[in-house]
């Protein structure tokens, strides 16, 4: 077991899968010669050559369309979108093609495609580079959507995603590439449809994924000092959404907070809250609280950007209010 950064864990997963299966190849903007905008694909072009690591034009629709065709022809492409904000021009390929093809051809053709792309903000990159759109994809039948928040899960889920016969949206986060964590060596697979309790607690359940897992953990430590015991459920499997650990936890705590980096309205928290109401209504001691980004395009201004995203204080204050401790 090595301690790696998130970007190195992802790099390791790509390398291992490319070594294991020669149909696996990568394509995207600046992923080869430049080693990738976030250096996730560092060294891979050198190692595997230009046929298996393709630098593409700045044309997202072409990247996804090419990948879909390759996938239908028997290859296992891993396409990188520089950020999730840029995939919007390729939504037709993702939704109308990738997600629907297997169904519309009656199972006659499959699309074993992985689209890796980071969401998230906090780096003063402006509204067009700073959003989190995982809920857009989690809305669509035919796609699998995962968003790991630890290096170990990132490696294990990326390997599972590459081996999956369906299109998988693999959502990363710019704010987590540098975090470190234990990563099992070699064959380490994490299922794409299992969520995970990352911290045990009794008083309140915090459901978070990706970078918000870090925020939730910091908040949980603060809450612990204030005598409130928070349980954290990692929503790394967003579609299909594994609610079992959430429901089990809420039945224990009676209080739930959903925490996401994207906007609240129509967000991940809205879906999770609804499912909690459907499956654990009689166990709730308070309404489910949703925390998300302020309902504005992410501001460029440093201070405004800072308060637009949820942070530790938001979670602590919300948890205390939820438990009637204010």
């Amino acid at each position: 077991m090595a301690v790696l950064t998130m970007r190195d864990a992802l790099n390791q997963a790509l390398r291992e899968e490319m070594n294991r299966d020669e149909t696996v190849f990568l394509l995207g903007e600046d992923i080869g010669l430049y080693d990738g905008s976030f250096k996730v694909t560092r060294g891979l072009m050198k190692e595997f050559g230009e046929k298996r690591v393709l630098d593409t034009p700045i044309a997202e629709e072409v990247i996804i369309g090419t990948a879909i065709g390759a996938a239908m022809s028997g290859l296992r492409p891993v396409a990188e979108m520089m950020t999730v904000n840029f995939i919007l021009v390729a939504m037709d390929q993702v939704v109308n093609a990738a997600a629907h093809i297997r169904y519309m051809f009656g199972g006659g053709s499959k699309v074993p495609l992985v689209i890796r792309t980071p969401g998230g903000g906090g780096h003063q990159l402006g509204a067009q580079h700073s959003h989190s759109h995982e809920n857009w994809f989690a809305h669509v039948p035919g796609l699998k959507v995962v968003a790991p928040g630890t290096p170990g899960d990132a490696k294990g889920m990326l390997k599972s995603a590459i081996r999956d016969d369906n299109p998988v949206m693999f959502i990363e986060n710019e704010g987590t590439y540098a975090i470190k964590g234990e990563v099992p060596d070699g064959e380490h697979l994490v299922p794409l449809d299992k969520n995970d309790v990352k911290r045990q607690g009794d008083d309140v359940t915090i459901c978070a994924h990706s970078r918000m897992l870090i925020v939730a953990t910091e908040a949980a430590k603060e809450l612990e000092q204030q005598g409130i015991s928070a349980e954290i459920v990692d929503l790394r499997a967003l579609r299909p959404l594994d609610m079992a650990p959430v429901i089990e936890s809420v039945k224990k705590t009676g209080h739930a907070i959903t925490l996401e980096e994207g906007w609240r309205s129509y967000g991940v928290g809205a879906e999770v809250a609804s499912r909690i109401y459907e499956e654990a209504f009689d166990y709730l001691d308070a309404p489910v609280a949703r925390i998300g980004a302020a309902e504005v395009p992410t501001p460029y201004n440093k201070r405004l950007e800072r308060i637009a995203f949820p942070g530790k204080a938001d979670v602590v204050v919300t948890a205390r209010a939820l438990l009637g401790k204010n």
């Binding site: 009689d282 949703r290 209010a321 009637g324």
Partner: protein, 481 residues
């Protein structure tokens, strides 16, 4: 189409359980016909149909419970049961299988709703306004904070700030301001409601300590008491100390047998605890000469048929009712810092029943003849014991009598039955030596003890009221006039 709703069958009832539907779906029902048998927290009651027509649908099945006001059946309208009316939630909640990607769920395309170009154009402007609004307060706060030490913008994610952003404000709006509800509805969390139901706690008597006054799980647990469960750790230790005696007769291993309360027992426990721990009780005892009353009863019962005979208790009820007409301050309730004097005189009669205690109410006792009181009390007690009470049977008590005279009891004190402020505890009629005209003679004596809520009336009133009861029972002709 008429909806049949779960009726309120007692003051403390929250939910009722359907014991038996007396009509089947599709059957014709006439207004006034018995329709359904319902178990409330106090009794099993037959409820009549309030409308005529076909019983088109039974919503709440036998064995299931529903809160007051919930629709339990539908009468009239379309013939036959409505088809496919299952709640959708359970179906929708089914976990999504692995086949999801291979076989996408059926797409449901609604008619496309065109958004006007104006709406599109307005959006950015709205966003800006919204942004300004959301940020203004927090940004200002941050500005002042930053002036002090020069802010440190983190390299990675902006997590280490301490201000509360728009995100928390939005989440808090939901938590802090529960939707407005009318005054009638009790604000309680779902888990609090479920626990209250399980433990027989009346939510209207629980103070909510949660946000917006919501009753939380903790509040219900506190109201119900944690229950005297044996400490888990203590049990094995106790066993270890006691050497095993194989020859001893088979006895369960647990040192304590845990008895779960019936709903009625839970209600009794809760209401009487509330009474005893909130109403400051004091007690006044008086001994009443019952020679004439016993004689009167004897003569009365010789003159009437078996079904019209009266008891000592009926005489006491009549005497108390007459006395209450003269002491309106006794026929009263404590009501949140005020006193409510009741115009009706309704006497509760404590009745023991297997595994419980119940207090049917004899309404307008002051206006009824002794004979009528005898008959009414008898049928009330019968209905209570057979759990076939009418909804009115348990409502509106203003004063209560509790009689243990048949068990050879000298005297006892009783706990006030809310919302009353007095209860009279009746002992046995005993032969005792008494002094009459300077001579010791044998007299029939009965001791009664009045429990009083000291917030409502005081010692002298209590004594005068008892004097009046005593006078009426010692000169009992007043009771038959």
């Amino acid at each position: 189409m008429a909806n049949v709703q779960m009726p309120r069958l007692s003051d403390s009832m929250e939910t009722g359980k359907i014991l038996r539907w007396l009509k089947k779906e599709g059957e014709e029902v006439k207004k006034g016909e018995p329709l359904v048998e319902i178990e409330s927290d106090k009794a099993n009651i037959e409820v009549e149909a309030y409308a005529s027509g076909k019983l088109s649908k039974i919503v709440v099945k036998e064995g299931d419970s529903a809160p007051i006001g919930a629709v339990i059946a539908e009468i009239g309208g379309a013939a036959g049961p409505a088809a496919g009316d299952k709640p959708a939630s359970t179906e929708k909640a089914a976990p999504q299988g692995q086949a999801e990607s291979a076989e996408p769920e059926e797409s449901k395309k609604g008619a496309p709703v065109a958004e006007s170009p104006q709406a599109h154009a307005a959006r950015p402007q709205q966003h800006v306004e919204q942004a300004e609004k959301a940020m203004a307060g927090a940004a200002q706060k941050h500005e002042t904070a930053a002036e002090g030490g020069g802010e440190q913008y983190p390299q990675g994610a902006p997590d280490d700030r301490t201000e509360v952003g728009a995100a928390a404000q939005a989440a808090l709006r939901v938590i802090r301001q529960p939707t407005e509800e009318n005054g009638e509805r009790v604000k309680a969390s779902p888990v609090a409601r479920r626990l209250a139901e399980e433990r027989g706690v009346d939510l209207r008597r629980v103070e909510g300590t949660g946000p917006g006054g919501r009753i939380t799980r903790e509040d219900v647990e506190a109201a119900a008491g944690k229950g005297a469960r044996p400490a888990a750790g203590a049990r094995p230790a106790a066993q270890a100390q006691a050497p095993a005696r194989p020859q001893a007769p088979a006895r369960p291993k647990e040192a304590v047998e845990v008895v779960e309360l019936s709903r009625m027992q839970a209600t009794v426990a809760m209401r009487l605890s509330q009474s005893k721990f909130s109403a400051p009780h004091f007690y006044v005892t008086s001994e009443i000469g019952m020679d004439d009353a016993v004689h009167l009863r004897q003569m009365f019962n010789e003159a009437v048929s078996d079904t019209e005979k009266i008891s000592i208790n009926d005489l006491v009820i009549k005497a108390v009712a007459i006395a209450l007409t003269k002491f309106p301050q006794v026929n009263a309730s404590w009501a949140d810092g005020r006193i409510e004097r009741k115009r009706d005189i309704n006497i509760g009669i404590a009745v023991d029943i297997p595994d419980g205690l119940i207090v049917p109410v004899l309404h307008n006792a002051d206006q009824k003849s002794l004979q009528q009181i005898g008959q009414d009390a008898r049928s009330l007690i019968d209905r209570a014991r057979t759990k076939k009470a009418h909804p009115d049977d348990y409502q509106g008590n203003t004063f209560t009598v509790s009689n243990l005279g048949m068990y050879d009891v000298d005297q006892f004190t009783a706990i006030i039955n809310p919302p009353d402020s007095g209860i009279l505890a009746i002992g046995s009629v005993l032969d005792k030596p008494v002094v009459k005209n300077g001579q010791v003679a044998v007299g029939k004596r009965m001791r009664v003890t009045l429990s009083v809520d000291h917030r409502v009336f005081y010692g002298v009133t209590a004594a005068q009221f008892l004097q009046e009861v005593k006078r009426l029972l010692e000169s009992p002709m007043a009771l038959v006039l």
